[in-house]
Every structure is written in C-alpha cells, then in structure tokens.
C-alpha cells in the first residue's frame, strides 16, 4: 500500500530496490548531504547510492532469502532422506519421493550419461527455484512492511523474491554455464571443445575451405554458447520480475478507495492463482534447460 507522502512512482521504485550493502567511494556525497572522507562499506539509503556502489555491493535481501530458502530445502529434504524407510512411505517422505522420482525420470529422459551430479543438481534447482519463486505469492507489502517496522525505517528496502533479482538468476545461470564448459572440456578435451566451436556447423572436409569457415563457425558457435546462460538467467528473471511488477501495480489499487481496493483484491487473487502455474513452470524450465545443457556438454556432436 502506498503510504501518505509517497507517489505511485516512488512506491513502485521503492519496491524494486534491493537492500544493498556496498562500498561507496571517497568524496561521495551521501543522501543526507555528508561527504565521505574515504571509501566506506555501508548500507545504501537510496537507489542512487545503490547504483553508485557499482559492482562492490551485495543485495542482502536477495542473498538472505535465497540462502534461507535453500537451507529450508536442505533441512527438509535431508531430514526426509535420513528418516526414509524402505517400507510404505508416509506424509512428507512420499511427497519428497514423488519429487525425486519426477526429477529422476526427467533427467533420465534427457541426460543419458553417467554423472552423479546432474540429477541432484536438477532437484536442487527445481525445489530451490520453486521456493524462491513462491515468495512472489506472498502479498507484496507484508514482508517489506514488517521489515521496515522492525528496522524502524519507513524507507527500508526489502525485496523478498530472490528470482526477481537478475544477480540471483544470472548467478545460477553462469554457474550452470561453468559446469557446462567444465564437463564439455572434461569429456571432449580442450581440443575437442575448440573443434566444436570452430568446425561446426559448417564443415567442408577440405582443409583450405575449413580455414575460411573457421571464423564464421567461431562467431556463430560463440554467440549460441554465450546466449545459453544469458537466456537461461534472463528467462527466469523476466518472468518473475513481470509477475512481481503486476502484483505491485495491483497493490497500488488498495490505496485508491474501497471499490478499486476490492477489485484489486480479486485481481490479486486471480493473478496469484495464475502465477502458481508460472512459478512452477519456470522452476521446471530452469531445471530442464540445465539438464539439456549438461547433456549437450556430454554429447559428441554428430558429423555433418
């Protein structure tokens, strides 16, 4: 809800700003007019400050929620794994087994090689991303207002959906990318990896034509290689960011009178129901694409 003295634009901007802890350079003029004598690590008090921190900054809310949700995943699943019995599965164990079975089948369908890491990674991605996406269904003002009340600062930034932060999604995507390059080189050797980049997709068979084709191949393959992590990360980010944005816009209606407020409530409910589908699907897509990329790293490209 937009509080008094806050315009809709400010409300939206406030909602889209992460809680940032970072280094401000020496000689920087803070939000309250003070000038820093030397570079300092501090909390950002405005979007401008957060931007000016550059790369040397950490989004505490993104990391906090993602680590917290990841710990919840680890705790619940390891407990279920420890308690798991061969007998009739009950309660949470059957739910966990359902998930494991689902992920296992999906991975088996896509990835046909032996690697003990792919399936657990897929499970981690699916559950963790789903949990992070799930934060999107919590009404947009609940957690930020609670945090602001606890912090005693009405302008306390607090973004609860880690996947609406490109840092989180791209961080995961680049990790997947790193694994992909690693497995690719491990399976095909450095030479094989380079060959894949240079002698593909165009391949003539005569060395003097191949030499001409190498730069073209290299450009094409590099672009498609780089596009993989970026599209992977931005797809998740884009979907969730858009969903979050619509929740925020709907939340603006709550301060616009009873009729619009009620209408907003209905809208929010409808969008949340629709969003249940989106968050599950996006978690699934991230998992499947990761597995596909790993399979690509392992598969030796057939000759054309």
């Amino acid at each position: 809800m937009a509080s008094e003295g806050q315009t809709s634009t400010e409300y939206i901007q406030h909602h889209l700003q992460n809680l940032t802890y970072g280094k401000l350079p020496a000689g920087y003029t803070r939000y309250d007019g003070t000038v820093l004598e030397q570079s300092t690590w501090t909390m950002a008090h405005s979007s401008q400050e957060a931007t000016d921190m550059g790369f040397m900054a950490v989004h505490l809310d993104t990391l906090g929620w993602s680590i917290g949700l990841g710990l919840i995943f680890c705790f619940l699943f390891s407990r279920a794994a420890k308690k798991a019995t061969v007998g009739v599965p009950r309660g949470f164990q059957s739910f966990v087994e359902l998930l494991v079975d689902f992920v296992n089948n999906t991975v088996k369908d896509i990835f046909h090689h032996k690697n003990a890491m792919i399936a657990p990674m897929a499970l981690t991605i699916f559950v963790w991303v789903f949990l992070m996406n799930l934060m999107d269904l919590v009404p947009v003002d609940w957690l930020p207002l609670t945090a602001a009340t606890i912090a005693g600062d009405p302008h306390f930034f607090f973004k609860v959906v880690p996947t609406t932060d490109p840092n989180a999604t791209l961080g995961m995507a680049f990790t997947v990318f790193a694994f992909m390059i690693f497995f690719s080189i491990q399976q095909k050797g450095l030479l094989g990896f380079v060959k894949e980049l240079t002698l593909h997709p165009f391949h003539a068979g005569k060395w003097y034509i191949d030499i001409i084709l190498i730069p073209i191949n290299l450009i094409l393959e590099t672009v498609s290689l780089i596009a993989k992590p970026i599209s992977l990360g931005l797809r998740l980010f884009g979907n969730l960011y858009a969903g979050e944005m619509i929740f925020i816009l709907i939340a603006l209606m709550f301060s616009a009178g009873l009729v619009l407020g009620l209408f907003g409530g209905v809208l929010q409910w409808a969008w949340a129901v629709f969003h249940v589908l989106v968050i599950t699907l996006q978690a699934f897509v991230f998992m499947v694409l990761t597995t596909v990329y790993m399979a690509m790293a392992y598969d030796i490209e057939e000759e054309h």
Binding site: F55, V86, P89
Partner: protein, 156 residues
C-alpha cells in the same frame, strides 16, 4: 537492478546447495526408492509363485479327488458284485437245504408208509388167516401155511 557481488554470492550458494543435495539428500532417497522397488518386485514374484503353487495344488487336489472317486466307484461296484454273489450263494444254500429237507421228509414219509404197509400186511395176513380158519372151519396148522401166508402178505 544492479549487477554486483550478489551474483558471485548466489553462485557460491548454488554450488554449496548442489553439493549438499548430492551428498546428503539424493543418494539416500534414491537408494531407499530402489530398494523398495526391488522389494515390491520380489513381492510380486513371490505372489506369482504362490499363485502358481496354488494352481498346482488345485490341480493335484482335483486329480486326487478324481482318483478317490474312481476308487470309491470301483469299491462300490466290487461290493455290489460281492453282495450279488452272497445273495446267490444264500439262494443256492437255501435251495439245497430245502431240497435236503424235502428229501428227508419224503424218506420219512416213505418209511412211515412202508411201516404202515408192513403192519397192514401183517394184519391182513392175520385177518386172512382168521378168515380162512373161519371158512375152513377147521384148525389149520399155522406152521404149515405160514409160508403161504407170508407170500400172500408180500403180494399185498
């Protein structure tokens, strides 16, 4: 929406969670599930085997029942035959006994008749003698005519 250290933090977190899942979650759960799968498969096999055994036992029971029935039928037939035989034997015995009784009775009757005839003969002889005495009115020497009288009695 600034790209910053969060990216690296998230990457490290991601890897740690993957390693955790790989070490403490996935193998245990998969083991348990595979073990259960095996157990269920074994159970199904055992059930199938039991079914087969049951089928065999049923067949055996049916066969035994049939054999028993056949045996019983044979026994009954034998018994019937034996009964017929016994009846026949009894009949034969009864007939023989009746025959014997009849023969004995006839023999007795004949004996009695003969005895009566003898008696009658004797009496007739005496009567004839008395009659002859009376006719002749004279005493006749019994000794002299005894032979004649006996002959007469035998002819009667």
């Amino acid at each position: 929406m600034n790209i910053n250290l969060t990216l690296i933090g998230q990457s490290i977190t991601f890897i740690i969670f993957i390693l955790f899942c790989m070490k403490y979650v996935w193998p245990m759960l998969l083991n348990v599930m595979q073990e259960r799968e095996k157990k269920i498969a074994d159970g199904l096999d055992a059930a199938e085997m039991a079914d087969k055994d049951l089928e065999l036992a049923k067949q055996k029971a049916t066969q035994q029942l049939r054999e028993a029935k056949e045996q019983a039928a044979a026994l009954i037939e034998q018994a019937n035959k034996r009964a017929g035989q016994i009846i026949d034997e009894a009949k034969d015995q009864a007939r023989a006994e009746g025959e014997r009784l009849k023969a004995a009775a006839q023999a007795e009757i004949e004996q009695n008749a003969n005895r009566a005839k003898e008696e009658l003969r004797g009496k007739v002889a005496a009567l004839a003698l008395v009659g002859a005495e009376k006719v002749l009115q004279a005493s006749i020497d019994k000794k002299a005519h005894n032979e004649l009288l006996d002959k007469l009695a035998a002819d009667l």
